[in-house]
Assembly symmetry: C2
DNA sequence: TATTTTGGATAAATTATTTTTATAATAAAA
DNA sequence: TTTTATTATAAAAATAATTTATCCAAAATA
């Protein structure tokens, strides 16, 4: 029971005529005859009585005709459901981000998105960058706004949204506090509090020291930058934080021989297609990036 | 959106694989690829993400899949409705008959039919034979059990069920009452009460007289045989009635030179197919005819 | 990292199906 | 009876679907 044959059947039933139905469908009369014959063979019963000059539904034909609207309706709904995805954006949006980005970068974007697409239910998960990468890879989350890994990562597409300069920070009573500039070697003499290895930020700093052949005196580590900042402020050691987090109780030290930075950006799967809501969010991020070459907000 | 393509889509979605879906449907993998491509072109959207080794529904695909059961259901119902016509007989049965047949011949058949097919709603219409013929011809009624027209009638199929011998009847006080036999010429001298021209019974009698070149003295006519019988009984004239209606207050006269008879039978359209209930009734009539070569019931 | 394996896409050839053209058959209308 | 209108049918043509063979990309394996 192909749908096109049912349509032919309906056209004939509505006109009690094969030939005018054929005209209406832009086909020839024998084509209609064949389609009806196909249905009749499939259902093993006649659908029309062939009276001399016209044609009339049989009992079986009437039974079938009465079900055509339901079939059309169900098919119409199915098509509608698919096409409606191009209309108003709705449905859930699974989004991962870091506490830091969620706190300092995303709020204006989220509120603008919520205004534009009020029917999207935002499901935000706070994760380390690496965890986020892994969940995107597995398709468990559509989109992440996190610290980008240096270099390319297989199966993922990334796009930088913000350059986030990092800077060394110490408490005002730290021995290095009044220095204009410091070297990595000098820093390596003092205790450090840094983000864990499972964050790209932590890896960036460590890699930097490793390349210079300098060791690190690691104190306790946490991935939550606000906490890190607090630990540095109470004097547990020097740390590296986004310059934008500079503020009361900490002062920044300029590195003599290099500068540190990380990229914040959006990560998606390279093959999986995005849901409408994810695509909308992705698009919004890009326009924000272009329009707002503004300085990042302070803490 | 042909149904077979939707089935292919469903098969792929259930397995996240084109090739195993192909196996399941007894087709090759490229055939499935093409069917999915057709759907995707029609809906102007991808239904699957082609990940390296497997395949996964897109948002559009998920939307479509959720509607497949409804489509299957509506199509299943349609097919079911047609096929169920071969099961239990039900629905309305439009049947025409004459008062006489309805009163004297049909009751046992109707009750047997009702017992066999309790779900059929009998819609009986009492009509003159000619009216019944016309309504059958127009397809307004499926089946009639009436006096059959002499000879063939275009567009209709008839089948005799009972031979109904007719006889001349008079009241006991009629001048011809004590005669053993009468001739048409003798009858033509007396007033007659006969069924109208619109009944075949009336026409049979008139034709008989016309062939013999004899005139008829017609009194008032009615088509309702019971009334005719009453009129003859009270002395309004001689009449012709089924021999089975002979009884108190009337006596029959044997015609010297001929004998009159009519056929009672069933009439259907020669091309239109009968509904299940009509076919069942038609079949029952034929078996009754064969089994009951019994004498007809008396008044 | 290189190689093999797996699964989908694609092109060409083949096969099936559908459609058309032309004609027959039939019944209704003139 | 002839004409006309309608569907059925056969053969040819056109179209569509399927298969075969091959390619390509991504994963798995060595």
């Amino acid at each position: 029971m192909e749908f096109s044959n049912l349509q032919a059947f309906k056209a004939v039933a509505e006109r009690n005529s094969f030939s005018t139905a054929a005209q209406a469908l832009g086909l020839t009369q024998p084509a209609i005859s064949k389609r009806i014959a196909l249905l009749e063979a499939e259902l093993e019963t006649n659908l029309f009585d062939r009276l001399g000059r016209s044609v009339e539904l049989t009992e079986a034909g009437r039974a079938l005709l009465s079900h055509i609207p339901a079939v059309e309706k169900s098919l119409g709904h199915a098509e509608r459901a698919v096409r409606d995805l191009n209309g108003d954006v709705s449905g859930p949006l699974q989004l991962a981000t870091s506490h830091h980005i969620g706190l300092h970068r995303l709020p204006p974007i989220l509120s603008s998105f919520k205004r534009k697409h009020p029917h999207v239910r935002l499901e935000i998960e706070f994760l380390d960058s690496e965890q986020a990468y892994e969940r995107i890879r597995r398709g468990e989350i559509e989109l992440a706004v996190v610290t980008l890994a240096p270099g390319n990562v297989s199966q993922l597409d990334t796009e930088e949204l913000w350059e986030d300069p990092l800077t060394v920070m110490v408490a005002p009573d730290h021995p290095l506090a009044d220095r204009e500039t410091v070297t990595l070697r000098e820093l390596s003499k003092y205790a450090a509090v840094l983000p864990g290895l499972e964050t790209f930020t932590g890896r960036i700093v460590r890699q930097h020291f490793a390349q210079a052949g300098e060791a690190l005196q690691l104190g306790m580590a946490t991935n939550y930058l606000e906490t890190l900042r607090m630990m540095a402020a109470v004097g547990l050691g020097w740390t590296v934080l986004p310059r934008t987090m500079l503020g009361e109780g900490l002062q920044s030290l300029k590195l003599e021989d290099s500068n540190l930075k990380r990229s914040l950006g959006v990560v998606v799967h390279h093959q999986r297609s995005l849901s409408r809501s994810a695509r909308a969010f992705h698009d919004l991020l890009q326009t924000e990036k272009r329009s707002c070459a503004l300085p990042a907000p302070t803490v």
